[in-house]
């Protein structure tokens, strides 16, 4: 098997990443109506270097630290462009009872239901190493992140000869440091977060990913008894701050309104090189781990973050004690990840459960609801493959399920002050206290994808669904792995767990075919992704009687890695 090709064919990698508390974030943010978070495994289409492997589990902390005489610096990056055609993603459904379509349609009435898009992003992963191998500082920069090509012409479109620069051309996503201690590794800063298959928290490192979690964290990982034991504290939210009188660093105005997250992990992960060596030797490799994450918030200052989110207009009136509301929120997440590799068989499993309670869900100072909002969410996913990942023919079956909530709509986007969804709507808030005090739909991270159309584009992410996904692959490498061709075909059948969540009330969501053809030439990745969705009765419009019609997409991915 070609290592270079394997490095670029990132689909093959299933490495547990750093566990974190975003699990609880997911739950809490859902309960507070924030946008959904998180996602899936990171598979950079980048050379496999310690720089780009920074997202692996707690066990990977300290990678790249070795005894060196001089300071070192490493960089890796990927510039990607994506050109897309999207056809009939509204499935000819029309608008739902709240007047919203399933997906945007062309502006011109009667036009072909074809939408186009092209975007780009340059991702840079950087690392600096101190002499004597004790300390490293790492970071991640995204430049022109998902900027639409041709989206900001300078001047009249027909006369434009350039593009206006974006307001925020550079995004610093991560910046953290690691130090090697006699008993383990200490890390601090804003670092990526990923665990297992990425159901709960996803670093967004895959070449086609659009999001990614990062935690402001202090973590300590200690190897013992064949495992890596890790503990992490996340500064999830500190509430309102104020500059010190001397103008230096800000002060947290009230520790009681902080959101605190503790994460514990125990993991046994070997890494791709050791795994490959064991596979080559015919050894069975078992890896796995468990994380437990607990998040708590006693008080809240809703005005502070609602202003930041743009939900309310910023007020000139200084914050005072009257803006504090009791929250009494707590959430706990448990996540188990297992990976088995024996000769040509690989099986990987992740199972997660989240339990949470918000004692006081009101956002209005002075107003208190009588009853708490509670949540119990779960998800499970299995991936398998038989055959070499990147040489010859291989096949497997993936599957899983994510819990649902009986409220109308899938509950991917839960606006803070939005209306309750009506039966037949695609989306909307799942909890509406005091009448509905449950929030039980598990939302997979948006980068934890199982398809290309139905959940990735139309629904937004996987939730309230069960899926089964048989897949087959043919791969071939030449020139010592410098050139690699891979052809994939996957079929995804999906069903709603709660029929109330679908537009029609039927469980059948559809069948999607996802063929892929990719070519890797040293640092160049050319990938053609297509998909055809045959929607099920769940997307019929129960009010107009319109039956959902097929949709398709085609995406050309160009990746330039260095």
């Amino acid at each position: 098997m070609s290592r270079r090709c394997a490095a670029a064919r990132t689909e093959a990698r299933r490495v547990p990443r750093r566990g974190r508390s975003a699990v609880a974030v997911l739950l809490l943010s859902a309960m507070f109506g924030l946008a959904a978070l998180p996602a899936r495994r990171v598979e950079a289409a980048l050379p496999t270097t310690p720089v780009t492997r920074s997202q692996e589990t707690f066990s990977s902390l300290g990678q790249g630290l070795w005894d060196r005489d001089e300071a070192g610096f490493a960089a890796a990056g990927l510039l990607r462009t994506r050109l897309e055609l999207l056809s009939n993603l509204d499935l000819d459904h029309g608008v739902g009872p709240s007047g919203q379509p399933l997906f945007p349609s062309p502006l011109a009435n009667g036009a072909e239901p074809l939408l186009t898009h092209a975007d780009m992003r340059l991702r840079l992963d950087l690392a600096a190493y101190a002499p004597r191998g004790m300390v490293t500082v790492r970071g991640r920069l995204d430049l022109l992140d998902n900027v639409a090509l041709g989206g900001a012409p300078a001047g009249p479109p027909t006369a434009s000869i350039g593009q206006r620069p974006p307001a925020a051309p550079l995004t610093l996503r991560r910046l953290w440091a690691e130090a090697l201690l006699p008993f383990g590794v200490l890390a601090a800063g804003r670092m990526g977060s990923h665990w297992g298959l990425g159901l709960l928290t996803h670093g967004g490192d895959c070449h086609d990913c659009d999001r990614g979690d990062a935690a402001d964290r202090v973590a300590l990982a200690v190897p013992a008894l064949g495992l890596v034991w890790a503990i992490a504290y996340d500064f999830t939210a500190i509430g309102p701050t104020q500059p010190r009188p001397n103008g230096s660093a800000a002060l947290d105005l009230d520790p009681a309104d902080d959101v605190r997250t503790w994460t514990f992990a125990a993991v046994h992960a070997l890494g791709p090189e050791i795994r490959a060596r064991r596979q080559g030797a015919g050894r069975t490799t078992v890896e796995g781990g468990v994380i437990a994450s607990h998040r708590k918030q006693s008080l809240d200052v809703p005005r502070h973050w609602l202003e930041q989110e743009g939900v309310v207009e910023a007020s000139a009136t200084p914050l005072d004690a009257g803006q504090i509301v009791r929250r009494d929120a707590a959430a706990t997440a448990l996540d188990l990840w297992l990976r088995l590799q024996r000769r040509s068989l690989r099986v990987e499993l992740e199972a997660a459960v989240l339990s949470g309670r918000i004692g006081q869900a009101s956002l209005l100072p002075g107003v208190e609801l009588r009853d708490p909002v509670e949540s119990l969410q779960w998800a499970i996913a299995l991936e398998s493959r038989y055959g070499a990942e990147l040489e010859g023919l291989s096949f497997g079956v993936d599957g899983g399920a994510a819990s649902g909530d009986p409220a109308p709509g899938f509950g991917v986007r839960q606006p803070i002050a939005g209306a309750r969804p009506l039966p037949g709507d695609l989306d909307g808030a799942q909890a509406a206290p005091p009448r509905d005090r449950r929030l039980d739909n598990f939302r997979l991270h948006p980068d934890a994808r199982i398809d290309r159309l139905l959940f990735r584009e139309i629904v937004g992410t996987v939730t309230d669904a069960a899926w089964i996904r048989p897949h087959v692959r043919w791969a071939r490498a030449w020139h010592g792995g410098d050139t690699c061709v891979v052809a994939d075909l996957a079929a995804v059948a999906t069903f709603a767990l709660q029929p109330n969540s679908t537009p029609s009330g039927a469980r059948e969501l559809g069948v999607e075919l996802d063929p892929t053809l990719s070519l890797t030439l040293r640092g160049l990745l050319i990938e053609w992704q297509t998909a055809v969705l045959l929607p099920g009765a769940g997307f019929d419009n129960a009010f107009t009687g319109a039956a959902a019609q097929p949709a398709w997409m085609s995406r050309l991915f160009l990746g330039f890695a260095f």
């Binding site: 869900a361 209005l364 107003v367 509406a432 206290p433």
Partner: protein, 297 residues
């Protein structure tokens, strides 16, 4: 049909008391309903509230946060087209009489406990565009911003203008142009201050304004006399939630018909910043409870 219409007119002119009381009662209920719906806009701020569903005016900045300064500002009492509210309405006799005064707890705070006020019928009320109904052709110069239901069956609408000084009642109209019981089209000669903002404990005002038009298809002429007084209302405990500090607004309304007797009602409302009217009790001229309303998230 013409005979029937004439008979209704004659009845009215001859002072058919029950009929007039009914009409007056419907009007008296009006302002309280209006206040409830004004509060709807703010209900959106509460995660349990159902507001702004499809209302074009409910933008992302429409959410209002109370500052708990004990003053109801114009922004904290603002209504929005498209806002909706659920109101639990119970007519006397009630299983549990609502406490209208409250008690002062050991910490010196006044608490009005309505947690046992669970009986009644739930109604949904919505705010519509005051300038877009069938009545617009009748009064092109009215200048109404909002149209809100005045009665439980929502057959009557109040047309309001809102500005920094408060909420002003301009007219009362039938919800439809040709209702079975006859069209209502009553206009105030001057805007009537239903709610003055900013509203603080201790504020009081009176207004006496003539009205004219058509009531249930019959000619109407009268005078409304309002006396409003706001005091500190403490914390109001409702079945689903509690809120405070509130303002307790007592409004005494006297409707004098030029063709008949005078009707009196008293309404006691608990108002809260960004939520408007949370609860209301309506009393007759003798002080007996007629109706209780409270807001449901």
């Amino acid at each position: 049909m013409a005979v029937a219409v004439q008979a209704r007119r004659d009845d009215f002119r001859q002072g058919d008391a029950p009929r007039r009381w009914s009409s007056l009662g419907r009007r008296l209920l009006a302002w309280g309903c209006a206040a409830s719906v004004v509060g709807v806009a703010a209900c959106a701020a509460d995660p349990g509230a159902d507001a702004g569903a499809s209302g074009p005016a409910m933008g992302p900045l429409s959410l209002c946060l109370p500052d708990l300064d004990g003053t109801l500002s114009a922004a904290e009492a603002r209504g929005y087209v498209g806002a909706k509210a659920r109101v639990l309405v119970a007519a006397a006799p009630l299983a549990q009489m609502p406490d209208l005064e409250g008690v002062v707890d050991s910490a010196g705070r006044r608490v009005v406990d309505w947690r046992d006020q669970r009986d009644g019928v739930e109604q949904e009320m919505a705010v519509a565009d005051g300038g877009a109904g069938w009545w617009a052709a009748e009064w092109p110069d009215l200048g109404a911003d909002l149209a809100m239901p005045l009665n439980g069956d929502q057959t009557l609408l109040g047309l309001y203008k809102q500005d920094a000084a408060g909420l002003w009642l301009l007219a009362i109209v039938s919800a439809t142009a040709n209702p079975a019981r006859g069209r209502t089209l009553i206009r105030y000669e001057a805007p009537l201050p239903v709610l003055r903002t900013p509203l603080r404990a201790g504020d009081a005002w009176t207004a006496t304004i003539a009205t004219s038009g058509t009531l249930d298809g019959l000619p109407w002429q009268g005078i409304d006399a309002w006396q409003v007084r706001a005091t500190a209302g403490g914390r109001l405990e409702l079945p689903d939630f509690s809120a405070g500090p509130t303002l307790r607004v007592r409004t005494e309304v006297e409707v004098r018909s030029l063709l008949g007797p005078t009707a009196r009602r008293t309404q006691i409302s608990w108002m809260f910043e960004c939520m408007g009217e949370l609860g209301r009790a309506t009393l007759d001229g003798g002080g007996a409870l007629l109706e209780r309303r409270l807001l449901r998230p």
